[in-house]
Amino acid sequence: MRCLQEEGVDYVFGYPGGAVLHIYDALFRQKRIQHILVRHEQAATHMADGYARGTGRPGVVLVTSGPGATNAITGIATAFMDSIPMVVISGQVQSHLIGTDSFQETDMIGISRPIVKHSFLVKNASEIPLIVKKAFYLATSGRPGPVVIDIPKDITSPTELFEYEYPEQLIMRSYSPAVKGHPGQIKKALTMLLEAERPMIYAGGGVIQGEGSSELIALTRLLGYPIVNTLMGLGAYPGTDPQFLGMLGMHGTYEANMAMHNCDVLIAVGARFDDRVTNTVAKFCPFAKIIHIDIDPASISKNVVVDVPIVGPVKNVLAEMLETAQARVAKRTKVQASRLAEWWTQIEAWRKLDSLHVTPAADGVTIKPQEAVKAVYKVSKGTAFVSSDVGQHQMFAALYYPFDEPRKWINSGGLGTMGFGLPAAMGVQMAFPDETVVCITGEGSIQMNIQELSTCAQYGLPVKIINLNNRSLGMVKQWQDMQYEGRYSHSYMDSLPDFKRLVEAYGHVGFQVKTLAELDDVLEAAFALKDKLVFVDILVDPDEHVYPMHVAPNGAMDDMWLKKGVRT
């Protein structure tokens, strides 16, 4: 406990049980750290994750052995895939019982091994300070990620006394993340960028995790180049800025994907060429020389071979580029300037297609899910923290709620975890009690962690839950429409709860919206209830698809469905 205090931990998200009772007793007898009691351990990890994404500080989780530990696994994997700093302390059975299949025993180190940055099994009480120090250092430095500390019960016993000394400094011979990029490579990259005729900037979640947003904005504006963000990178560059072409990838905008496909120099910043971005790798950016900045050398040339790799923190690398770029941009020739202007003319032509255009329902009553997200944007003035679950609503939120700041968009991009949205929003709300925190979800996802409405009641968390209710697992249904001739195998739910009454039973406020005419007014009313959790159940058009959408398999980035039955 004292170690956690030394690390400046303010919240621990957890759930007690036999193996962690000594730790919970120590929690009880101190004041500095507040413990948040969840209703399921998975939610504890997502809350800690949301807290970390919102603040940039590591989230801390405390769970018991056995089922406590295994319930935490999905949340740890979620954090791992998105490189989120997190420290998970799991109880373990007493040392002498390990390996005997004792009550609530599970090999947490083994189960979590592929989804952690590192893990520790504590063998002696005296090791605790050094291990905690290492865990926080590893979780937050380099490419961040979750770290597990598994502690057998006997080691946390109050009778285990040792001379306490918290290490001030840490030297690990086997771990030294890059602190700056190679100057030669940076120079080479800049030259390549300045000589480009059709340049493109592709920025991902690494810019947000690496706090490189202001450097990215400065460099992008100085160069005057078009920029796209990945799903994880939304907010790294202001979503309402004219140089921003939108999200790229499977559900990216037409102009973003077209510009990617046709560019001649691509600079990837803190992004990892995920399969949801590249479509068919062999057809990815066929005309481009590629520069890649990433803190993790293993991300470079993993999926796409690059021409100029730069290993280092994006913030420092971009800052170093900026230093020399200023003078060199000023020396740009007229020919170069006119080529860039031509490129922008082409991009504006693509943008004119207005691939995110929403056609209102013919009956004038039915709400399109996109319209609901736009209404949420309006009522929250585009400045809220928005978490999402996974599915169609996630893509609608990503496309129709432009984020102007980093850390405002909280979503599970890598693992794609349904049930993430509500607890993540709670973690953000915990860190920012006075801010508006919205959870855009669907009737499928919300039910995967709906028990946390109880936690919200206990801690008075006024999250605004926007349920885009289409009475079906929308993304699954969309794929079944497009690839399985509309055979809706288990994507339909005909036994949904009355969400309004359900949230009222938890002591919260519920609204249901059925018509477009009432949408804005209900949202106004909901967002006006600053101190209340409000659940707005919006019945949306169940047949809506997310577009644009990459044609797969074997498609390139410029192969897209633009609306039902319309291809590029």
């Binding site: 592929p114 590893l138 086997s174």
Partner: protein
């Protein structure tokens, strides 16, 4: 292409399982694996062989380097190196076979390290190819058991893998 990757690893519980787990989880293969502590008892030296293309081996070495307990590693096949594998082979040795087995063993500079009325146990050290060749040469005999250590290796010259 066959690769020999040699790793200096923190000599800690669980470190080996991370290395082996990485190969399983990322769908790389391990053909042979040997591991033992070094003269510095805080470090283990692990040598593994794998078949991989240049891009795969680049990923393998990067992913191995990412493991916190991996201190340093080298792909020995990138340069000149010495590799050795030890094999213990138990062969039926009766009648005329007895002399023939001994002769073949001598040709390969094997040593007979255990003898009974009916069997020899031969120890053979060399490259994996040599061990394979010996097994082929013994194909006329009745091989009862084969135990191979997996490959160990070291770079030629003054190049070393050390902290």
């Amino acid at each position: 292409m066959r690769r020999i990757i040699s790793v200096l690893l923190e000599n800690e519980a669980g470190a080996l399982s991370r290395v082996v787990g990485l190969f399983a989880q990322r769908n790389y293969n391990i053909e042979t694996l040997t591991v033992a502590p070094t003269e510095d008892e805080t470090l283990s030296r692990l040598t593994l062989t794998t078949s991989a293309s240049d891009t795969q081996v680049e990923q393998i070495t990067k992913q191995l380097n990412k493991l916190i307990e991996v201190v340093k590693l080298v792909d020995l096949t990138e340069g000149e190196h010495i590799e050795r594998e030890l094999m213990l082979i138990k062969v039926k040795a009766t009648g005329a076979q007895r002399a023939e087995v001994k002769r073949t063993s001598d040709i390969f500079r094997g040593q007979i390290v255990d003898v009974t009325h009916n069997a020899y146990t031969i120890q053979l050290v060399g490259t994996s190819d040599k061990l394979d060749a010996f097994l082929r040469a013994m194909s006329e005999s009745v091989v009862l058991e084969v135990v191979r250590s997996g490959v160990s290796g070291v770079a030629r010259g003054e190049k070393i893998l050390a902290v």
